[in-house]
Symmetry: C2
Subunit: 312 residues, 2 copies
Amino acid sequence: MQMNLSTRQLRAFVALAELRNFTRAAVACHLSQSAFSSLIRTLEDDLGLRLFDRSTRHVDLTVEGREFALSAQRVLLEMDTALGQLRERAALERGKASLALLPSLAAGWLPAVLAGYRAQHPGIEVEVFDILSEPCIERVRNGQADFAIAATRAETPELRAEPFHTDEFHLVAHSGHALLALPEVKPRDLLPFDFVHLSRNTSVRQYLEAATLPLQMRTLLEVDQLATVMGMVRAGLGISVVPALALFHFQQTGIATRLLKWPQLRRAIYLVRRRDRSLSLAAQSLCDWIMARRPVASEAAAPVAASRKRID
Amino acid sequence: MQMNLSTRQLRAFVALAELRNFTRAAVACHLSQSAFSSLIRTLEDDLGLRLFDRSTRHVDLTVEGREFALSAQRVLLEMDTALGQLRERAALERGKASLALLPSLAAGWLPAVLAGYRAQHPGIEVEVFDILSEPCIERVRNGQADFAIAATRAETPELRAEPFHTDEFHLVAHSGHALLALPEVKPRDLLPFDFVHLSRNTSVRQYLEAATLPLQMRTLLEVDQLATVMGMVRAGLGISVVPALALFHFQQTGIATRLLKWPQLRRAIYLVRRRDRSLSLAAQSLCDWIMARRPVASEAAAPVAASRKRID
DNA sequence: CGATCTTACGGGATTCGTAAACATA
DNA sequence: TATGTTTACGAATCCCGTAAGATCG
């Protein structure tokens, strides 16, 4: 049973079965006629029976050869299908990639990047989880996502993290707010004003509290979505501090922004993936594409503004 | 797409996919570990992508490898099935053979021969056409029967005939009939008695008429079946002349038989098959079996008597 | 350091193509 | 005799196993 049949043998057999002529079948297989002949001979010897009745004038399948031809064609078809699918994946014409990333990245930076990627690889299905850092990491850990872009440096035996971006923070306030007139804004300058916070499980909130400790800000309210923060700020109810990647929410008339040059207030963002398994070709290509187009620190605001045009 | 994949490569791949260990998979494939390694490497190179993530401690399928594993297993299963079926046919454990032969042979000689064949090859399906010579030949010509045993020497560009048997004829009459007392029975001795003929399209009738020309026998009646002839003869209505192969019909009390040693009255029987196509392995084995057990002229009556016990 | 995969390399088997021999209509 | 298959044989290639090298836990 441990027989070494090659697809070339099967193809030669099928070709001869169809053409019923050694010379023409040999040409079809890009072989000399004699090599083709011994190929068939070897196949028959391996199988232990004759597949063709042949004279110098006539070649035809035996009864057993006729049965084998059906199987051989089926096997070759299946093989070609499998190879075709594999080739499509290798050529990035088909596949699936899933990434988990922060909502601000998903809404502000990702769309333009993903649009370019999809234009180049329309056959690759992309799945996006736009969720907070912790769930992002969890999706990678349990295999739901191929990789994540999150604010957690998840270096574990399972996970590998590499720097993706460093995000600076901006003050956002209603136009004409008193803070905007100061030559420089420092942490304690924020204390007198009502502040719109994001919830405590966001990385933004955590970075902000770490940077202002031990000062206590005046909390107007605490919300989950940056869009809500924007609404509050635009209405003049309070001020807030948001990372550059989220600035696109605030580029509206009536809102002013100002970069905060606090050395301790910089959000590190990482690309996180599993250590033990390689990415699928599709996921790897998406990862490469994304890494090549990650936001540059000095131009953080610019691509955000560019992408804003797309999502409005 | 013209890629030369061998089943050994596929088997090695599947083995490694299951065992996730080069060393053990190499053993399972009866290869050295290094040969196995380069086999996998070659397969990956041929396909143009990596099938396994491997370190010195851990081997696992890539996403693409996982997809290919499913296809490979399916292909191997199909291949094994095909090879298994072919091997069954080569081992004569399965197959089909069909033969057309004269009713007298089918009823008298064939059963014991076929019983032995079936005992040895229970998986081979045998189809029997028990019909007259002309239809026998026709069945071979149109492919319904693999070969025929008939009284026609069918030597055409399409058909090949080889001698199978020479059949002698016997007088059959009611016990105590006057003819049985003669020292020798000659053609003209039959003329005074009522004669039970077989129909004109039987070879028996044709041989008999050729041997008695230009004499005209006294026809009592003309029937199609030898069993009917027997009934008539046993009832004393008439006499008849039948070939040795049909004598088993007449081995009954009340009927006597006598060999007619007329030189011109010998029926030649041929095995007829197509020239252009070889027999299937099953048909060839049945043909060989049958040729090895064909009735011997001098003992014509003996196997008939023996087989008669089986069919009564 | 030990287990495991990869690379290097020589020998043997396989396969190829050219050319001659062979077979059939 | 013409067409087409098989056989003979030297050359190139492929494949295997031994042994040394590299790598990860």
